[in-house]
Structures are given as structure tokens and as C-alpha cells.
Amino acid sequence: MRSIEVTTPENVPVVYELAGPGSRFLALFIDSFIRTAATALIALGVGSVMPDVFAPSQMAPWLIAVLIAAVVVLNGGYLIYFETVWNGQTPGKRSLKIRAIREQGLPLDFRAALLRNVLRMVDWLPALYGVGVIAAMVNSEGKRLGDMVAGTVVIREAPESVEVHSPELSATVQLSPVGVDMTLLPLSVLSADEWAVVYAYLQRAPELEHQTAMHMSRQIAVPLLGKLGVPAEQVGGRFHSFLVLLTREYERRSDA
């Protein structure tokens, strides 16, 4: 999965996954369908209310002109309108959970939406987005010409809520006091790999059976305790709780 990275002013890189051509085409298909359906509805609606709309009369020319204008505005302005007010999404894009954003990670504004959609005319050429597809394939960020000129990129939306088994959460159930003063531990002796093991365990702990969790926490905690210079007996067998408190202390010190 291709992605881009935006560095915020806090010097923190945020990663956006790029939307693939499949979802982009599908989104466009949905949008085209909606526009066509809306156009047909207008035609049918007017046709049923005034069956003789095309008959020569005093008002007919104006009515037809207004209708054409409405259809043109609907079809031409639809994408621009939605991308502006829906923060880079159209109904099609929303249903496929993709979004157009500016390269800097900022929301689309009217000008960017206008530009990328005007350039659609060229991306469409010679037919069915021939130019756009080739451009997006060649470009490392999957941009069609409109994206290049407007400085935009289409990304996949992050899932609304990621399941995170936070150690704090799982701990509330079974956390019991351990006989160790966490604030005095020399945490720096633990390596990144060791922390990775601890976090990996805590994330999976809620799914584990009690026996397994007991066994695993013991297997992980005992070597760490040895490295920290704490006798394993001091924890009193509550290795899971110890690991939770250990990560809390670690994060507390990192925050400070």
C-alpha cells in the first residue's frame, strides 16, 4: 500500500495511505450514477407536471433555458460543490471511504476543488480517463493531472474507530498491587525489543485465557525483573499487573 507522509509543525510525521485506482473509479461511478439519476428525475418531474414543455409557447424558451442551466450546474458543479463542503469527499468518495486532501494534509478548499475538477476534462482524454490513469500509474503518489496541478492527493480514510486494546483498559479488571516501587526502577536498562514484547503481550492479553495469560506474563516478566534488579518473589505472582504498571511508568516518564 502506497502512502505519503506529512510532517506537522510539531515535527511529527503523519502517514496517509493512498487510495487505489479501483476505489477511485468506483467512487466516480457512484457519483456519475447519482448525477445521471438526478438529471433523469428533473426531466421526469418537469415532464409529468408540464407534458407540453417543448410545445411552442411564450414561457417555453425560458423554462427550457432554466432547465438546461440547472442540469449543467448540477453536472458541472456536483463534484466541486461536494468536495468543497464535504471536506474533499463526494457521496461516491464517502461511500468508499476515500478523501481528497491537499498535499500538506490540509482540507480541500474551493480553489483546489475547482482546479482538480476542471482538469478532469484533460484527464478524461482520449476516453474514460486514459490520461488520468496513465498519470496516476506513473506518479509515485497516484496523482492524475488534476491532482498535480491543484496540489491534492486522494487518500484512504482511517477507519472510524480502531480497536485498541489499551493496557490501561484491560488492567482495570484484574489489576492488583505489586510490592515494587515503580518510580525507582531503572527503566533505561530495558531494550526496545523487550518493550515490544511487553506491549505485544498487553495488547493480546484480553483475548487470552486466564491460565495462558498467567503463564505468559510470568515468562515475560521474570527476565525483565532480573534485568531491573528486582527479586521475582517481590511481585508476588501478579506478573500481569506488574507489566501494566511498568508500561504506565514508562509512558509517564516519557510524557514528562
Partner: protein
Amino acid sequence: MAAAERRGLRSLSGEEILELGGEYRRAAAGLAFSQTRPVGEARRRKLNALVGRAYAQLYKTSRRPGRSFVQFLLEDFPHALRTNWVFVAAAFVATLVGAGVGLVVAATDEQTVEAALGPAWISEAEAIAERHSQPGVRNWLPDEQRPMASTLIITNNLRVSGLALGLGVTAGLGTIVVLFQNGLLLGFIGHAVAKAGVATDFWAFVAPHGVVELTAIFIAGGAGLMLGYSLLFPGRLYRKEALRLAGRQAVKLLMGVGLMLLYAGIVEAFFSPVPQIPHAPKFAVAAAESVLLFGYLLRAGRTGNEPAGRLAPMAAWMAQEASVEARDQRRARNGAAADPLVP
């Protein structure tokens, strides 16, 4: 470290904004932490999404829509145009060359013209000529067709403008072709009406809207040429950056073009073809429009420190972006007292 989820960031109270800022920084710190320390993939992704969303909301520059439209009309559009007049002039020249070629070809070789225009065009032209050969009737556009023609003219002009702009990405070649074709057509028609002896009549029809319409097309063409230029001569920028910079300039021109074409399309259908209005007022309107239009484009929002025309385009664009930004910041500072959200 766990940051609170928060949605609907646009309508927060001042207090909530401050709180959000704090939480954003904590989440960002957490994200940075998660990227270097192994705290689990799921958590890193969650923070990534959270920080991304909060960042987008906190750092976007907001414009007040109503105000920025007036500002666009009175400052941004004419300013951008003056900065890029060279390109608009080039688009004008491309059209002019096309018109010249069209005139010469039409005068020397009728077959080519007919082949170039196609049978549909010829029959339409003959129908118009037919109407005009009848004494007393000099109506370029029958009454009942006017509303629809207005819509179609505007639509078509907008499409051509968009295409002229968009085709700029072919290093400007596509834009030049579009402009040249337009000019060619103008040359053919110019010759045809002269031959039919209705030239004055024709130009009286064209002038009232043509002044605005053709200027708009030149501007759109100029915007396309800017995109082409940025790809050919990006200077010290990457082509990608140069193109984006040109795009930011071009879109300003395009928005102005849209408004001009809206006006021209209405005049073209409801004023230009009206046979009851004699030639003199039509030409007078065209002259007045020219004065107003060019006065507006050349003078509006002028601050005296515009580097227009003296700098190479890349530098001029950067200077223009910078001056707009500086202006907005200056105004934001001056207006800060009235704005409760600015601490």
C-alpha cells in the same frame, strides 16, 4: 497519553479550541513516541488518524466566504492578471495568428474552409445567410432561441476555457492549438461576412459581448500557457512544485474568467443580436465595456508594490503569493480585536 476523540471541530467555543490544541499536542507527542517505541501497531494507527484529523482542522487557513469573494473581485483577480499579462498577451497573439491564417486561407481557397468546418457548419451558415438576404430582417438570433442560446453559449465558453487551461499541461501546446483554432474560425467567419456584405452588421453583433468574451478566452488561454511554462521552465523549483504554483495562479484567473463569461453569455443572447438596436449603440456599449473592463483589470486593487512584468514568471508568482499572504496576515492582525477566537 490516550487522547480524547473529538468531532465537529468547526463550531467550538474558544475554551474548547484551547483544550483541543492541548490535546492535539499530546496526541502528536504520543504519535511521535509510538513511531520510535514499540507500543503496538493498532495504537500507532489510531494516533496517526487522530493527529491527522486534528492537524487538518487546526492548521487550515480559514477565509470568510462572503468577504473573500469581494476581495477576490477587487484584488486577487486583477492582481493575478497583471502579474501574468505576458501569458494573456501570448494567448492573444496565438489567436490573432489563427485569425490571420483563417482570413488568408478563406480568401484564397474556399474548399479548405468547407472541409475544415464540415457540412453541419456550412448548412447552418447558409441558413443564417438566407435570413439575412431577406430585406429588413437582420436578426442574428431569433427571440425564442435567446434564453436557451444564452445558457448554451455560457456552457460552451466555460468548457472551452477549462480545456484551454487544462491542456496547458501538454507544455502549452494543447492550449495553443485551441486558441489557434478559435482564431482560425474567427478568420473564416470574418471573411465570409465580408464577402456576403454584412460585415458591419456582423461586427455590431459580435462587439458588445465579444469584448468581454474574447478577453476571457485569452485569459483562460494565458492560464493554460502558464501551466505549460511552469513545466518547461521551472527554474530552481521541481517541476511538480512549479506546476502547483502555476496552478494556484491559474485558478484565480479561471474564476474571473467564469464570471466574465457569465456576463458575456447574457449580453450575447439578449443584447448583441437585437435587431431593433442600431449599430452605433452596440459599438458604443462595446467601447464602454472595453474602458471599464481594462480599467478594472489594470487598476483595481493596485498597491504600488507590484512586481508585475519585471520579474521572471516563477519569481513573480512566488512574490505574488507572498504578497497576498502578507496582506491576509496584516488584515488578520488588524482584525484580531474583533475576532473572539484569536487569543
